[in-house]
Symmetry: C2
Subunit: 327 residues, 2 copies
DNA sequence: TTCAAAATTGCATACGTATGCAAATTCCTA
DNA sequence: TAGGAATTTGCATACGTATGCAATTTTGAA
């Protein structure tokens, strides 16, 4: 950085003023074709890049978007992250990554977002939501909760049609002739868990069926334990709906290890459609998130000033059922 | 950002000069306890955060580290990413994420790294290495290749003891009584592939054994196809070593689908020890990367001026064998 | 060819912070 | 209490770029 090439040096070499150099690199500014060529040639020769710090400072506008996640619990997120970075890059934004579950660092993370005056924040981590949301509101930084809904924060949410998807799954299992049902859930309070539980149990009730509800936390391990316990306590049902694919794998493996066959004895459905679900070891029926559309909408909400300063709303997008071997 | 609170406003409220405010937020600067308190109080009241753009500009030093990855092919990387962000945050750095496999955006990605004059770059993506490495050298930006070695770039590499680990795996399989061997590889040219292949085949040769080598690309799908083909062409061996866990899963599933039992008929070993390997559906024997130490060393190399400007070296760290159900 | 309109250019300044320097204050010792 | 050393403070400036304004050049029509 000490040997930084500046617009002044480019200007000198090109025989123009610093302003002209700046205008060449500022879209929407007017420069003659002749100077543009001279400047670009000199710039290439020197390896000039506009200094983003000076630029953001003078424009009073950041080109960074904060991406807040916590750990790597679910392979579903890396896909979304990649989509975000690609799409944002096309719009000229870069991504500031916040990814830790160290509570002591959380304040530092928020500081970073504020120090860089990020143009917006995407939150993929529920636990950070409350503290962070407050700060974001205070500093009027546009924010979107991705795949979660946290009532009362006033932030925009972009989520999947969890409830109606869960209803669809219920109807599917009924149509397959199942008579008894289990729902294995996620962390208490998580909107994905709440909404999927609601849709599933209500739809079953509409058709005159009850539902066994088991607690979970979105992890494979807990899925496995739930699956094992269902068998050992004799509470196995005709159908199991797991709140995420990851938990479904655990349940499936617990069944397989104990000789319970899927789908012959039990039908199993997950949620997310992460890559592994199409692997032959699981071949899991599941509900696919409309990830690309969710990302696109999130970005739109963040960057449209109309939207981003409006009171937060919840946007539910429709995904698609993927029928595979477990039903 | 338009309603940015500046050091001047804090200074006015606290009744001191802007310089004093700056000194309170600059570590190593000398301020009296009295002014510090006044300033901190005023700062909190106004919600002041030093503007990182102005700061980086005047100090001519970035607090950003670029993290370059490509897609999400291997669940191994998210763990490393998280570790990087946490450790870097402790040192006062934030992470600029580059994550795309869109070739057209690659130049823009490099521009971003240069525009922000990142203090260093961690590269987790082999394909970007060549183009990017050249740029990084030209602009004297410290860089570390993580889990890959690309000869001739002059960049530091932090990697796992692939070769000796592969030898250890060969000896293990021999000790288990295997007589015929297969190696299923990764993308041609990838250092992890080359080194593991070399260690494995050489050690087998030392003991008088040959080895069938099958081409691969690090993906589950190709693992599966290789596994299937081995059976269908009658070239199944006593032991199979896959270049990554991900490929091992594919091979395993192909075997399972065709009634070939692991480990009774075939012993199977992977590499990486990602979380799934301990799941009961695979319970895969594998070699665990020393991820934490690899990350720590990478950061050390990046931030130590002595190291970062020295000619790049390859640093191999020792991991640990994880014996599970497939051997 | 001439002259007004349009386009382009350079000058000067501002963004918010860090820091060398000199002035002001505090501290310590005699 | 005096007076010199040490600490703290404010002033002024610089970092590299974008942009309003005025000066200059180019364009186009008569």
């Amino acid at each position: 950085m000490e040997n930084q090439v500046t617009a002044h040096e480019v200007a000198k070499l090109a025989g123009v003023s610093q302003s002209s150099v700046s205008r060449v690199f500022t879209k929407g500014a007017s420069v003659s074709e002749k100077t543009r060529e001279k400047v670009l040639k000199a710039a290439e020769q020197l390896g000039y890049r506009p200094n983003e710090y000076a630029r953001s400072l003078i424009k009073r506008k950041s080109s960074l978007i904060g991406l807040v996640m916590k750990g790597v619990s679910n392979p579903y997120y890396p896909h979304a992250v990649k989509k975000f970075t690609s799409e944002l890059k096309k719009l000229g934004y870069s991504v500031l990554l916040i990814d830790t579950d160290d509570v002591e660092l959380q304040m530092q993370d928020i500081d970073a977002l504020l120090s860089y005056h990020v143009a917006g924040v995407v939150i993929m981590d529920a636990t950070a939501s409350f503290q962070t949301a407050e700060m974001l509101r205070r500093f009027r930084i546009p924010a979107v909760l991705f795949n979660r809904v946290v009532p009362g924060t006033g932030l925009h949410s972009v989520s999947c049609e969890n409830e109606s998807a869960a209803r669809e799954i219920a109807r599917l299992l009924i149509a397959r002739g199942c008579k008894s049902f289990t729902y294995v859930g996620g962390r208490e309070g998580a909107s994905t868990h709440i909404e999927r539980l609601k849709g599933f149990t209500e739809e079953l009730e509409n058709h005159g069926f009850g539902c066994q509800v088991l607690p979970g936390d979105f992890t494979y391990g807990t899925g496995y334990r739930n699956g094992a316990e269902m068998i050992e306590s004799g509470r196995l049902t005709d159908a199991v709906f797991a709140v995420t694919d990851l938990m479904a794998y655990g349940i499936y493996d617990a069944f397989r290890d104990r000789g319970v066959r899927v789908p012959e004895q039990v039908k199993l459905v997950g949620f997310d459609d992460i890559e592994m679900s199409s692997w032959s070891s699981y071949n899991l029926s599941t509900y696919a998130h409309p990830v690309d559309r969710m990302v696109a909408l999130s970005i739109e909400l963040l960057l449209d000033p109309e939207q981003s300063h409006a009171e937060g709303e919840v946007h539910y997008l429709t995904g698609e059922m993927r029928l595979r071997g477990t039903t």
